[in-house]
């Protein structure tokens, strides 16, 4: 079991953002996380990746306890996340951005740059190699965010709504990329809002609602789950799927 | 021989004026999220206004306040349009260096125009002493306190009970939401800045009879203002008021007990201590110093 969350909780003052969440992601699994706004999805990512300390429960990555460890240490272990509001290194070029990602594993800059070039090609960012991050439109920024995370050579990649804000073409390209990564052996935990995208993509779906895990299982089962429909999906989606 | 009541009264009176100096600074930060490093220079200009008003036309500083208030409001508005407006959304570095640059420019303009000589304003009222609460008090200090408190309370009332004041408080809480509500944040920022400068300009006029006037006079007061504002929590108006009282008390009692030589060290150590252990201040929101906007 690559990632294992046991009874993880997170409170902000009087507000409980996460309550007793259990979650597992195994090697090469593609797990989707859905839920209405405010359900705690990004908070979950923040807790897993070390940006927030959990108030309860435990998180194990590759057998190691990582609860409360600092974010950079967790990234060095091979768990990398992207941000919902993308954070490109604006004044640095695409190549420099990805190179910095590659320096997670590579000790030498030339080697890191080579790795970065490969990943840039793979993510089809080649033509924008020398463009500064801040000059990229949102679709390319999202791709850069993924490329940079990929360069860290992770074992588990956490993608936070990488598909929102993309036009249909960009969406397709991103989907293809994610499928390629999965096919290549990477484990992925994907937060997504667009049902039509996440359902066909995921092997397994976890539904969060008010900070709790509401349901879990294969996409079809989750889509048919009464509680999920009531809380989140709405009748139309269930009917459409049926 | 000073008594406790003497020292206490002095603290309160001084605190009132420090409040006026600081309130503008904390208001500007609260609404605009900009630390105005040039705040002290406007105070210095207020002091010079009092000096020249008195020296050239024999105008008593306390009357000069009437001119200072609208005058500095206007100056604040102009400064906003020319300097501040362009950097509202800029990075911290840009904001810091812009206001620092403004500070340097204003100091040097004063230096060029009026030389580095210390000037003194000695209106007749400044020599009179009265008895208040069993302590003998300088009339000038009393009047300064009165005017300062009047202005401060007027500002509080404005923020609390007028529509515009509410709009300012809304912008302070969430600029983006305010824009979405149709609030002209540019206007709000300009108004805020102008008000902040008006306050500190008037404070300068009030302080002139009691302190020497020279181009870098702003520095010692701005240090105090920063200590007050950080102690009370950046953006917190009530905090600034209480902070002013505390700092004034430290100054008055400190001067009496250990002399003025180490007073400044005391201020800086308080500043450093607060920044290290409770950067949000006594009343500010914890973590505020980590959130940029």
């Amino acid at each position: 079991m690559l990632l294992e969350l046991t009874s993880v909780s997170k409170r902000f003052g009087g507000l409980t953002a996460l309550r007793d969440v259990d979650l597992q992601v195994d090697e090469n699994e593609l797990v989707g996380i859905i839920g209405p706004n405010g359900a705690g999805k990004t908070t979950l990512f923040n807790v897993i990746s070390g940006f927030y300390r959990p108030d309860g429960g435990a998180i194990r990555f590759d057998g190691q306890d990582i609860s409360g460890h600092p974010a950079h240490a967790i990234a060095r272990l091979g768990l990398c996340r992207t941000f919902q509001l993308v954070k490109p290194f604006g004044n640095l070029s695409v190549l420099q951005n990805v190179t910095i990602g590659a320096l997670n594993r590579e000790r030498r800059v030339e080697r890191a740059r080579t790795v970065a070039e490969e990943i840039i090609e793979r993510c089809r960012l080649g033509p924008f190699r020398d463009v500064p991050g801040k000059s990229l439109p949102i679709g390319l920024r999202k791709r850069l965010e993924v490329a940079r995370a990929l360069a860290t050579q992770p074992r588990l990649l956490l993608l936070d709504e990488v598909m929102s804000g993309l036009n249909p073409t960009e969406l397709h390209e991103m989907l293809d990329l994610i499928r390629e990564l999965h096919a290549g052996g990477l484990a992925l935990l994907v937060i997504e809002h667009i049902m039509a995208v996440i359902m066909p993509l995921s092997q397994r779906v976890v539904v969060l609602h008010h900070g709790e895990k509401l349901a879990e299982g294969p996409p079809a089962a989750v889509a048919a789950d009464r509680r999920v429909i009531d809380a989140y999906l709405g009748e139309e989606f269930a009917v459409a799927e049926a | 021989m000073a008594t406790i009541s003497q020292l206490l009264v002095a603290s309160v009176l001084l605190g009132g004026v420090y409040a006026l100096v600081s309130i503008g600074l904390t208001l500007i930060f609260g609404v605009m999220r900009v630390v105005n490093f040039a705040h002290g220079e406007f105070l210095m200009l207020g002091m010079y206004l009092a000096f020249w008003g008195f020296t050239l036309w024999g105008v008593d500083p306390y009357l000069a306040v009437v001119v200072a208030l609208p005058g500095f409001f206007l100056l604040g508005g102009i400064t906003y349009l020319v300097v501040m407006r362009g950097i509202i959304s800029s990075s911290h570095s840009v904001q810091i260096f812009t206001t620092v640059g403004l500070s340097i420019a204003l100091q040097s303009v004063a230096l060029l125009a009026w030389t580095s000589d210390f000037r003194f304003v000695r209106p007749p009222l400044a020599e009179v002493t009265v008895r208040v609460a069993g302590a003998s008090v300088n009339l000038a200090a009393l009047i300064a306190f009165g005017v300062a408190m009047a202005c401060t309370l007027a500002l509080f009332a404005f923020l609390r009970w007028t529509h515009v004041g509410m709009v300012m408080r809304a912008t302070a809480q969430d600029r983006e939401a305010a824009t979405l509500m149709g609030i002209n944040t540019d206007l709000v920022h300009g108004l805020t800045f102008a008000l902040g400068i008006a306050c500190v300009g008037v404070a300068g006029v009030l302080l002139a009879p009691r302190y020497p006037v020279y181009p870098t006079a702003g520095l010692q007061f701005i240090l105090i203002a920063f200590v007050v504002v950080i102690l009370g929590g950046l953006g917190d108006m009530v905090g600034a008021l209480i902070g002013s009282l505390i700092v004034a008390a430290v100054e008055v009692f400190g001067s009496y007990l250990i002399g003025t030589a180490w007073r400044e060290v005391l201020y800086f150590l308080i500043l450093l201590a607060v920044l290290m252990f409770r950067p949000a201040g006594l009343f500010g929101q914890r973590g505020a110093e980590n959130l940029g906007t």
């Binding site: 600092p70 950079h72 240490a73 941000f83 997670n104 | 810091i96 640059g101 060029l112 800086f268």
Partner: protein, 353 residues
């Protein structure tokens, strides 16, 4: 044949790398050659000052530019280095070369404190803390009479000789200044090409994003600030020996801290040559103004301070990458645009457009 190709590619790679640094090579080269051709003490003095200020600005740049931690209190480190030389000279007759590591050690400790603060405070809060620290040191230095002779300052006894870091003529000072300038420049080059430097760039761009990529941002910031403090202090010691007098109200002053930042910003923040170009500009400007406004002491300092203040405001807002880089860029862009136009014109004429 292959071996020749290999050698030639290696050679061109190296020469490309060196070619990047041509402004520095030219500047330091001219400076190093100057004493051979120039005898005028005033000119050599100006050169030494440009190099020292450039190096000081470059030292600030490590923390303020490359690490993105804007400090307005670097005079604290400078003053510690200066006082290390002065205090050890008058109390224990120590050589400045020995005083240098003492001052540097103290400054680095203070730098570690500042580094700690940089992890707890952001932007203006951090700047305020650095100002506060430098001011505390100023006041302590000007009151602690037994150690520092208080406000009257310390004239450093002149004992010429390399072992004391004191020279009777200007020439050795020029060589020494070039050496330190090259040292600081080398640090900048390291920051632009090493793993540490790349990661630091990530930290200054977006700390959270950097953390998510495995970068220990806190540690990196502390190291950068400590290095910056170390370099600034060493240069403070050199400066004190050169000028021969340490005045607390100058060496710990806020104006001085601003100067380090100003030169870097004007020349080009987070670049190797920027601080030196800024120092060149500012020092020449000061020399010019001093000469033109030689009447009236108040007028003098007033005039160039106004210019600094306005320059700071304008550069930071409109030419954020520094005067020199922005102008160079515009020039290059215009040349490229002209070339593109010319190409288009050719194509039209040839009927291939």
């Amino acid at each position: 044949m292959n071996r020749l190709l290999q050698l030639s590619t290696q050679h061109s790679a190296l020469s490309t790398r060196l070619r990047r640094h041509w402004p520095a090579i030219v500047l330091f080269g001219i400076a190093a050659l100057a004493p051979t051709f120039v005898r005028d003490a005033y000119l050599l003095d100006t050169l030494v000052l440009i190099l020292l200020w450039g190096a000081l600005a470059g030292a600030w740049n490590v923390a303020g530019g490359y690490a993105g931690q804007v400090s307005l209190g670097h005079a604290a480190f400078f003053g510690l280095g200066a006082y290390a030389a002065a205090v050890t000279a008058i109390h224990w007759e120590l050589s400045a070369w020995l005083a240098m590591p003492l001052g540097a050690a103290l400054a680095t400790l203070v730098g570690l404190l500042i580094g700690y603060l940089s992890n707890r405070l952001r932007g203006p809060y951090f700047a305020l803390a650095t100002i506060g620290l430098s001011q505390v040191l100023l006041i302590v230095a000007s009151r602690w009479r037994e150690l520092t002779r208080g406000g009257e300052g310390i004239p450093i006894p002149f004992r010429p000789g390399f072992e004391n870091l004191a020279f009777a003529t200007k020439q050795p000072w020029v060589y020494l200044a070039v050496l330190f300038a090259v040292l600081v420049y080398a640090v900048a080059v390291y920051l632009e090409s090493s793993r540490f430097g790349y990661q630091l760039a990530g930290v200054r761009e977006d700390e959270n994003a950097a953390e998510a990529l495995g970068i220990d941002s806190r540690r990196l910031k502390v190291i950068a600030i400590a290095v910056s403090a170390f370099l600034t202090s060493i240069l403070g010691t050199v400066w004190a020996q050169y000028v021969g007098f340490v005045d607390p109200n100058y060496v710990f002053s806020f104006d001085l801290s601003i100067k380090f930042a100003l030169m870097t910003i004007i020349g080009g923040i987070a670049t190797g040559i920027g601080p030196f170009l800024g120092a060149l500009l500012i020092t020449l400007l000061e020399a010019y103004l001093r000469a033109s406004f030689s009447g009236g002491p108040a007028g003098q300092s007033g005039i160039y301070l106004v210019i600094y203040g306005v320059a700071l405001m304008l550069v930071v807002r409109f030419l954020p990458r520094g005067l020199v880089l922005e102008l160079a860029d515009r020039f290059r862009w215009r040349r490229r645009a002209r070339r593109a136009e010319a190409q288009e014109g050719e194509q039209v004429a040839a009927g291939t457009h």
